[in-house]
């Protein structure tokens, strides 16, 4: 199977000379379509920097990134329109849902499609399909303030899926939720990843959800280590820990 995303020897250096800080020091990571992986690490370990590099929000200093089989970064961006890349190829979820407060939920979900130039009705139809999949269609015409935390997060998942991106980057999406809701969000992401053949990278340090991930990348001092681990739901036993 062709990987959804491949990162090779990604580095990110902030500042220059004596004050330079290496946030990422040669990260290698591969994620396949349909899988949800966890990216865990302590505060300041480089999680957010890695996510921003993956999301084409900041420029890595060096390395190579392949997205859906296409090399998009090789010691520099190989594409001109980063904004379009982000809009069409990457979905985002955040610590809080960050729904646009003056739009209805269906409009929030339709927004990436509208920004991509899709007609309003078509975008609305697709948004309704996603909200139905996420079992929140009855709140389509509500505003964000009329939703619970879990409901709002589901709307933000629908928004991330709107353009059917090969990759979704989720930055601590369960941070504002209780344990029960956190588990249900991650289970939902697992289902959606399979259903839409999307690779989902979840940055978290939520101990409740960590055991659910089938693969985990741990980041420490700008280096990433893959933890191959027990798949609890299938009970196939422990695997040894290998660093990458």
């Amino acid at each position: 199977m062709k990987p959804a995303i491949v990162m090779e020897a990604i580095t990110k250096r902030y500042g220059k000379g004596d004050k330079a800080v290496d946030a990422l020091r040669g990260v290698n990571m591969t994620v396949y379509p349909g899988e949800v992986i966890g990216l865990i690490g302590a505060s300041g370990s480089g999680k957010t920097t890695l996510l921003q590099c993956l999301g084409a929000i900041i420029d890595p200093t060096s390395g190579r990134i392949e997205l859906g089989g296409n090399v998009i970064f090789n010691n520099g961006w190989l594409i001109d329109d980063i904004r379009t890349l982000r809009r069409d190829k990457i979905g985002f979820m955040f610590q809080a849902p960050y729904l646009i407060p003056f739009l209805t939920n269906i409009e929030n979900v339709a927004m990436p499609l509208l920004l991509a130039g899709q007609p309003y009705e078509k975008a609305r139809q697709r948004a309704l399909e996603l909200l139905t999949t996420l079992d929140i269609a009855d709140k389509s015409d509500f505003k964000a303030y009329q939703l619970s935390g879990g409901q709002a997060q589901r709307v933000s998942i629908a928004r991330a899926l709107a353009n059917n991106p090969p990759v979704i980057l989720a930055d601590e999406p369960t941070a504002p939720l209780d344990s029960q809701r956190s588990l249900s969000v991650i289970n939902l992401l697992n289902e959606l990843a399979k259903q839409y053949d999307t690779a989902i990278i979840v940055v978290t340090h939520d101990e409740v959800i960590i055991p659910i991930f089938k693969r985990i990348y741990r980041i420490r001092n700008g280096l990433v280590f893959e933890e191959k681990r027990e798949i609890r739901d299938k009970g196939t036993g422990y695997l040894s820990q290998i660093s990458s």
Binding site: I57, R86, R87, F102, E107, D171
Partner: protein
């Protein structure tokens, strides 16, 4: 594409409405001040522009008859009538006086004109023209008089037989038109105590006949067709030793010497009002933008361009401007008629104020646009 600004305005309608209302009142004040300024000019020129004269002949070295006192012998017009290029002449008297109506009194500018000549009220909006030789008057409607009112000036009682409009002195006193003879008497007549005192001082001099030497304030001159008005005025100045003002001179004199300072006051106040308006709009737009910076970062992250965000902020600022302008139009329509002086509330003032409002709103939104453009999509990710 969804119009983000319209959605945001609908979502925060109460905040918009409140700000729009405050801005509306400020714009209404702006419209009114512009109207007051225009009204002052219109008032200052109302009598000269409708008198039908081409030249005003007044006492030498005076700015009369509207700007300051001027005194000529009433028979000077005869000499002027024979002047080359002069088609018609008429005596004119005007002076301000407090007149009594019942128990209250009103300050008016008494204007004396000769029947059938220049200087009479241009329109009669109620009642009739003066037909009797004495003690009838036509009042500007701003005086508050009605047809049939009896008004007391000195010892005489006048009857208001007609009303005119937009006839006021440069200082805004409504005009009260009377026959020239009446005006001359009112101007010269002394009360009995004064006559007694004068007699004692002058030892019973010639003041017994106090109307012996009638005077006038100005002679209105109509220039014959084909003659150059400036040339005729220069000739009068040279040969008769009077001041002779053309309409252009009169306009310059009234605007630059009489209402100049008041106009400057209004202009300065207008500038202050516009600064306050800009500050209010800027504050609201900035507060609203700052309160949704994270959402703007998210919008950028999911593909919104800077131009889309800029347009949203600009449209919101313009929305406030339009709401404010509509409120201002209604408010100023309501309060303009109750002002004591004429307010020239014309279409060009409305257009100017609208353009000014939109300009202010655009300027006021610049600081917010800068903040929104500066926010990076990265701000949506991380704490």
């Amino acid at each position: 594409m969804i119009n983000l600004a319209v959605r945001d305005i609908r979502y925060s309608w109460w905040r918009y409405s409140l700000t729009g209302m405050v801005l509306g009142l400020l714009i209404a004040a702006t419209i009114t001040l512009c109207g007051i300024y225009r009204g002052m000019i219109a008032d200052a020129l109302s009598l000269p522009s409708t008198s039908g004269a081409d030249i005003w002949v007044v006492q030498k070295d005076t700015l009369g008859p509207y700007a300051e006192g001027s005194s000529l012998y009433a028979d000077e017009y005869r000499g002027l009538a024979g002047f080359p290029g002069v088609a018609d002449v008429a005596n004119l008297i005007n002076f301000s006086r407090q007149v009594q109506v019942g128990t209250s009194d009103v300050r008016v500018m008494i204007t004396g004109y000769e029947d059938g000549k220049m200087g009479q009220p241009p329109t009669i909006i109620a009642g009739r023209p003066i037909i009797q030789s004495k003690y009838e008057a036509i009042a500007d409607k701003k005086s508050g008089f009605s047809v049939g009112d009896k008004i007391k000036i000195r010892d005489y009682e006048y009857t208001v037989v007609g009303l005119t409009e937009r006839m006021v002195s440069p200082s805004g006193d409504p005009a009260l038109f009377v026959r020239l003879k009446d005006a001359q008497e009112l101007q010269l007549k002394k009360d009995t105590t004064s006559v007694y005192n004068d007699r004692k001082r002058k030892n019973a001099s010639d003041d017994t006949n106090q109307f012996a030497k009638y005077k006038t304030n100005a002679v209105l001159v109509k220039v014959a067709p084909g003659w150059d008005i400036n040339q005729v005025a220069d000739n009068i100045k040279q040969w008769k030793h009077f001041e002779a003002y053309t309409y252009a001179d009169m306009e310059h004199l009234l605007l630059s010497k009489i209402i100049n300072k008041a106009a400057k006051q209004i202009a300065f106040f207008l500038v202050i009002l516009e600064i306050v308006s800009a500050a209010i709009v800027a504050l609201l737009i900035y507060t609203m933008t700052m309160s949704k910076l994270k959402e703007i970062a998210v919008l950028k992250l999911i593909g919104a361009s800077n131009s889309l965000i800029t347009l949203m902020i600009l449209q919101e600022a313009w929305g406030i401007g339009i709401i404010g302008y509509l409120i201002a139009s209604v408010v100023s329509d309501l309060w303009v008629p109750i002002f004591p002086r004429y307010i020239a509330y014309s279409t060009d003032i409305r257009v100017f104020t609208f353009a000014l409002t939109m300009g202010i709103c655009t300027l006021a939104s610049l600081i917010s646009i800068r903040a929104a453009i500066k926010i990076e999509p990265a701000a949506a990710i991380g704490g």
